[in-house]
């Protein structure tokens, strides 16, 4: 059964190929259905392989399938093939599962877009790349997938590329990712140099013999790659701008899958991190800092997608914090549950945006709960889950992270706990501004004056908002194609915690992942009483956050004192990047073009030509044409020759 592993990335890739060739002919909505079915098939294959893996004994759950020898040069031998083990299958399952739901959702969301088939072929290509990333058996193939998802992210962010903001957001994402990718490449070079191979199994068997400084360097370089891909400090600004893309893209790529690739990588290199504690500490600190940063910024944002984007950055920080302290299982657990509720929140937001005719400013929403019940309830579930309200999945996963953080450093725990409070608060603010309180919009108002005015592709939907006829806003829930994924994800968000409850033997995930990361897992020795205390603490934090949000935002939408501009402007970090790095580069380029190019380079070339011409002009004057002048030259020559002879005779 494990032999069908190759089908997992193959199905979406086939979908991509078919849609590239025949997408336009298939059209709307058949292209979308084809893409969804392909990903569903991939999910089914993943389930089959999962079952096959389950069927094996715990110690034997590692299966390598080599497709062909990819690079074979001198000492470098890289094969194209997959490594099927609990970690990669966990990733594969949730990636394909969530992707299927989002593909389904997109059929409805992108209904009025004229580039409908193109969207789906990009999505399929993305899923295929992501699966290669998580299933690969060596660093280089992972990197191939890594680059693949990066480029698909670019394609999809800049999907409405005739919008300048979207085009430059795509560019920004690509550039930030690239910086991280440089780290990944350097790490690969170092790994090969130290261990002679890039295959995971070979490398991890050999890490014991590599010196700690090298391991620290490798770990930090790979972390740099993860920082770029998963939008951590300092390479995070691209994620907020990436909200220019269609909402399903934000849900799939920038919440559930691509950004988790960094976390996956950290867990994959657990053996290395285990032997390089300094690097691991750096990862934990950066993760905690990012979590706090993201949360504070999210508290002061108005755009619903930006709130969710910064929330993602914050939650990813949690995951890196977990990986950094050695709690890999907690990191994966949080990744899973986060995928569920964050995708849910994004899809819900998309539903609202669609209903409100592309308006994204929460300050212009309000009182939508009555009009959009399904969306409202699922969004509420998402809020409570991410806030960590028991017994939803977020409570269990975040609690796991917090407890492990405390085991390493109470300070990290404190930061993480404060962030948890803020998380519950800001997402509550988001929910309340959108669905309750005053209705800050009117039925008579036409759309279009939102901050994200439509592109050409969306112009059709501006004239024909989902479901509403004629002029004016009539928000309501979308069709089943869009609400079914919301419902499924909400259910997952509610009961998802069950996969790793901290009571033995209900800690399925921990036992499942044991063969992969068990040896490197942080061993915490908390008594049962301490564990209950932590749980209580988490619940209290969540409760406070919810209460504060309800207190302030239930009725009114104006609390400027709670939205300081420092947070609203994202701690001015992106502004600083733009001003100093981007501006500096632009100035340097301008200087080079204006001065260096024209004066120095052209000047040198032209100057040389001018010099040749000028010297020619001057030398030409020797040729007077007069015989007497030439005779004078002869005399001069005679003087020189005689002088030489005199000197020779003298010496």
């Amino acid at each position: 059964m494990l032999k069908v592993a190759f089908l997992i990335p193959l199905f979406p890739f086939l979908g991509f190929l078919v849609l590239t060739a025949f997408g336009r002919k298939l059209g709307n909505p058949r292209a979308g259905w084809l893409a969804t079915i392909m990903v569903l098939a991939s999910f089914v294959s993943a389930v089959v392989v999962f079952a096959g893996l389950l069927g094996r004994a715990t110690g034997a759950r590692s299966y390598t399938q080599t497709w062909y020898s990819w690079i074979s040069v001198d000492r470098l031998h890289v094969t194209a093939g997959v490594l099927i083990d609990p970690l990669s299958m966990t990733m594969a399952l949730f990636v394909t599962g969530v992707s299927t739901l989002i593909h389904l959702y997109s059929i409805g969301y992108m209904e009025h877009d004229e580039d409908f088939p193109k969207f789906f072929l990009y999505l399929n290509l993305f899923v295929s790349s992501m699966l290669i990333l998580v299933l690969a058996g060596n660093f280089l193939l992972t990197f191939l997938g890594w680059e693949g998802v990066g480029v698909c992210s670019y394609f999809l962010i800049a999907f409405w590329f005739d919008r300048p903001s979207a085009a430059s957001a795509g560019k920004k994402a690509m550039i930030f990712n690239r910086i991280g990718d440089a780290g990944f490449l350097l790490a690969m070079f170092l790994i090969f140099e130290r261990t002679g191979s890039l295959q995971y199994e070979t490398v991890f068997a050999a890490v014991g013999h590599v010196g700690t400084p090298s391991l620290t360097a490798i770990a930090l370089l790979l972390f740099l790659g993860a920082v770029g891909k998963s939008a951590q400090l300092p390479l995070y600004p691209w994620l907020a701008d990436a909200m220019e893309g269609p909402t399903p893209v934000s849900a799939l790529i920038h919440a559930a899958t691509m950004v988790t690739a960094g976390v996956y990588l950290m867990c994959r290199i657990a053996p290395i991190l285990h032997l390089a504690p300094d690097a691991a500490h750096v990862i934990a600190i950066v993760g905690a800092a990012t979590a706090f940063l993201g949360a504070t910024i999210a508290c002061a944002q108005d755009d619903i997608k930006k709130i969710l984007a910064y929330s993602t950055i914050s939650q990813l920080g949690y995951m890196f914090l977990a990986a950094g302290v050695g709690a890999y299982v907690a990191a994966i657990f949080l990744m899973l549950t986060h995928a569920f509720y964050k995708a849910l929140l994004f899809l819900g937001a998309g539903s609202v945006i669609h209903a409100m005719d592309d308006e994204q400013d929460t300050k212009r929403f309000g009182a939508l709960a009555r009009l959009m019940p399904i969306t409202s309830v699922t969004f509420l579930v998402g809020w409570l889950a991410i806030g960590g309200v028991p017994p939803l999945s977020g409570f269990w996963s975040k609690g796991d992270v917090l407890m492990n953080a405390y085991a390493l450093s109470p300070l990290l725990y404190a930061i993480a706990a404060l962030t948890a409070l803020l998380t519950a608060y800001y997402l509550g603010r988001c929910y309340l501004l959108t669905f309750s309180g005053q209705q800050r919009w009117s039925e008579a108002r036409r759309s279009g004056d939102g901050t994200h005015a439509s592109s050409a592709g969306h112009a059709a939907s501006a004239a024909h908002p989902a479901g509403s006829e004629g002029a004016g806003l009539h928000p309501h829930d979308p069709g089943w194609v869009m609400t079914l994924p919301l419902e499924v994800l909400a259910a997952a968000a509610v009961v998802g915690g069950i996969i790793n409850l901290p009571f033995h033997p209900l800690d399925f995930l921990e036992r499942w992942l044991n063969p992969v990361v068990g040896a490197e897992l942080l061993q915490t020795h908390f008594s049962t009483g301490a564990q209950w205390a932590f749980a209580l603490g988490d619940a209290v934090l969540a409760g406070f956050g919810v209460a504060i949000a309800l207190g302030f935002w239930r009725r009114t939408a104006e609390h400027p004192e709670l939205e300081p501009s420092f947070f609203r402007r994202a701690w001015y970090i992106d502004w600083a990047y733009d001003r100093f790095i981007a501006g500096g580069s632009a100035d340097l380029a301008q200087l080079t073009a204006d001065d260096v190019e024209t004066k120095v380079i052209d000047g040198a070339v032209n100057g040389f030509g001018g010099f040749v011409a000028a010297s020619g002009r001057r030398l030409r004057r020797v040729q007077t044409g007069y015989v007497r002048n030439y005779a004078l030259g002869l005399m001069g020559g005679l003087v020189v020759v005689l002088a030489y002879i005199v000197v020779r005779a003298a010496s």
Partner: protein, 101 residues
Amino acid sequence: MTVSAAWYLTLAAAMFTIGAIGLLVRRNVLVMFMCVELMLNAANLTFVTFARELNDIGGQAVVFFVLVVAAAEVVVGLGIIVAIYRRRVGATADDIHVMKG
């Protein structure tokens, strides 16, 4: 005994120099030619001086031949000058500067 050779040679050098300067400074073709003859004479004087100093007849033989060749040269040179003057009267050495760059 006559004056030492150094004086003769210095005199010859001076005559040569004057002839050379004259060649460069004058524009009239015939005067230039005369300056050339002056230079030839300076050379002849040098040869004769060395013939005396080194007790060598070869020096005087050379002067003999120089004299003959100078005569032939003058004949041909003046023939050319005559031919040129047929075309343009009043030609000077400065009139040809076609090769001015």
